[in-house]
């Protein structure tokens, strides 16, 4: 039996209607669309570069989850701080990270964000208010609580936001970090991307809980559930959470339902996922469905779509070229910066 979603009632996952769409500015909506397109274009290019043997190692795709990253990040101010995980390429782009930074890192360039020391999108940039994750899942949750704590201490009205997977949410740090944030009412938002699988492991083997959002109660914090492929709905629930956080009402745990449309990483053919499940979710593709809605609302048409596509294509070309033009990582400086001076 192909599984398609969590057991909890369908209705409780928020989605938006055409009326909701109309409440928003066309420019804003087109911006969301554009950033999703940018994300997929870069993702697709990275996959292509992998196949051409150009990357240092493997790559992780966020295909099918672009709306979740872009929609949630769109709810933030630029001075809010994000801690993107491996499937939040869209968050990085939306928060201002130029494509070349990502590409330089995938290519192991000397003046990439990690100088070749780490790979893929595994980097941060304080200039862009982006904290780098480590591979150990859920570690970012206590760390981003600490970022939020710095806002509390300095009386800044900024918010910290990060993401976690259905798998990663079972690591102890999820518990310690959320509980800590709850007791201090920190301006912190955690989005749980329930994309049905953790590597090869389906959610049924991850937890017996009926959903993940209910865990919020155990920390005395707010929660909500949202259709992760409804980009606007993701934006809206995140916006509410961010406002709550900024207003001093504490953290929120948002469960977003979506689907990982590729293998865990490029080497994984995801044969363990029933094809029907991919088929069904393909119909809910966040970009296609959002485009469709924008067209219906007369915000998008062929001409605008083509313009955006062309611009994005040009951006990817230019940024890829830029990345390739950079020098490779330099072993001469290898041991230089283990310590801050």
């Amino acid at each position: 039996m192909p599984r398609t979603s969590r057991k909890s009632s369908e209705a409780s996952f928020r989605s938006t209607t055409e009326a909701d769409l109309k409440r928003h500015d066309a420019g804003f909506l087109l911006g969301l669309y554009r950033d999703m397109v940018r994300t997929r274009a870069l993702d697709t290019r990275i996959e292509a570069l992998y196949k051409q043997g150009k990357l240092v190692a493997g790559c992780y795709s966020s295909r099918g989850q672009e709306g979740l990253s872009v929609g949630s990040t769109a709810a933030l101010r630029k001075d809010d701080v994000i801690g993107p995980m491996i499937r939040n390429l869209g968050s990085m782009l939306r928060h201002g990270i130029p494509m070349t930074m990502v590409l330089r890192n995938y290519l192991g360039r000397a003046n990439g964000p990690t100088k070749g020391r780490d790979g893929s999108s595994h980097f941060g940039s304080l200039e862009h208010n982006v904290i780098a994750p480590i591979s150990m899942l859920a570690s970012l949750i206590p760390v981003m609580s600490g970022v939020a704590l710095s806002f509390l201490m300095r009386k800044e009205d900024r918010v910290a936001l990060t993401w976690i997977g259905d798998g990663g949410s079972n690591v102890g740090d999820f518990h310690e970090g959320l509980n800590f944030a709850g007791v201090l009412k920190l301006p912190f938002v955690l989005i749980l991307e329930n994309n049905q699988y953790a590597y090869s492991t389906p959610i049924e083997y991850q937890t017996a809980a009926k959903d993940f959002a209910c865990r919020a109660e155990g920390y005395g914090i707010a929660s909500s559930k949202v259709e992760g492929n409804d980009t606007l709905a993701v934006y809206e629930v995140t916006k509410e959470a961010v406002e709550r956080a900024r207003g001093g009402a504490g953290p929120t745990l948002i469960e977003a339902r979506t689907m990982r449309m590729r293998g865990h990483a490029i080497h994984d053919d995801a044969k363990y996922v029933p094809q029907e499940m991919f088929d069904e979710w393909e119909k809910k593709d966040p970009i296609a469905t959002f485009a469709e809605r924008l067209r219906k609302a007369k915000i998008l048409d062929d001409k605008i779509a083509k313009r955006i596509d062309d611009e994005v294509k040009a951006e990817v070309e230019e940024q890829t070229e830029d990345a390739f033009a950079q020098p490779p990582a330099d072993p001469a400086h290898e041991i230089d910066e283990v310590y801050a001076p």
Binding site: A57, G108, G116, R117, V171, G172, D173, Y199, T201, Y205
Partner: protein, 323 residues
Amino acid sequence: MSEITYLEAIREGMREEMLRDGNVFCIGEDIGTYGGAFRVTQGFLQEFGRPRILDTPLSESAILGASVGAAIMGLRPVAEMQFADFVANGFNMLVNFAAKAHYRWGAKVPMVVRLPSGGGTRGGPFHATNPEAWFARVPGLKVVCPATVRDAKGLIKSAIRDDNPVLYFEHKFLYRRLKDTLEGEVLVPIGRARVAREGRHVSLITYGSMVYHGMNVALELASEGVEVEVIDLRSLVPLDEETVLESVRKTNRVVVCHEDTKTGGFGGEIAARIAEKAFEHLDAPVRRLGAKDTPVPHAPQLEDAFAPQPADIKKALLETVAY
């Protein structure tokens, strides 16, 4: 008899023990349906079924903690860390629960933790470390690091039969690179080093991936007239000190080498023991070789500059001989 790889040898060893003893079971992330990130447990779910092959939630501390509990009750869990690096998340279970139980209250903890470790595969800061020294310093844990196909099989079997918690560091670089033909029951005792190659000019004390590189270098040096004795420790705890000292007493010159970072790596322990216990036999300083004291870098040229390369080993051996 056909050739099998180092990786297949681990699988064979586990499978034989699973068949031999119903108390043995496997536990870890993605080890069932998927057969493990490196496919070490491929086919096990089909053969042994759930719960003996147990895909777990993403929870290293639960995996290790549950293994401790099951082991205390007399089962023999073989826990897989998807990468050795992730053991940092379940550290406490090993160093405080598993390691101290027998000493404190006589409870046996017959569990094995498999830790795919090491670099050379561009894994970067979190998928390529060699964390064995964290555990080799913990009384109550045993630590083995197979470097050959035979030892991969023989040590996993011995680890499973051991009544103590054994950390089994399997080196990713060797997984598919090493091949050998094994016949009959292969059991390798824990705590016994192997003279991988006899020689009289200098001893190379090493383990893990550096045995592979060291043997190649020794071969090369032999053609240049330098006979290197290569000692493959195989087991860090218990350490076969006598085989090490014997070699040093014979060659009077020694290089200690591992892929782990140099400062605080287990090579310090080995060098210190040699310096203390074979002082009179040393004609040259105990030379130590390890990776640079940085996290493991990702880009190939950086990783190669980071970890000891054959050329570095050769240079250290020649300088020690020439001293």
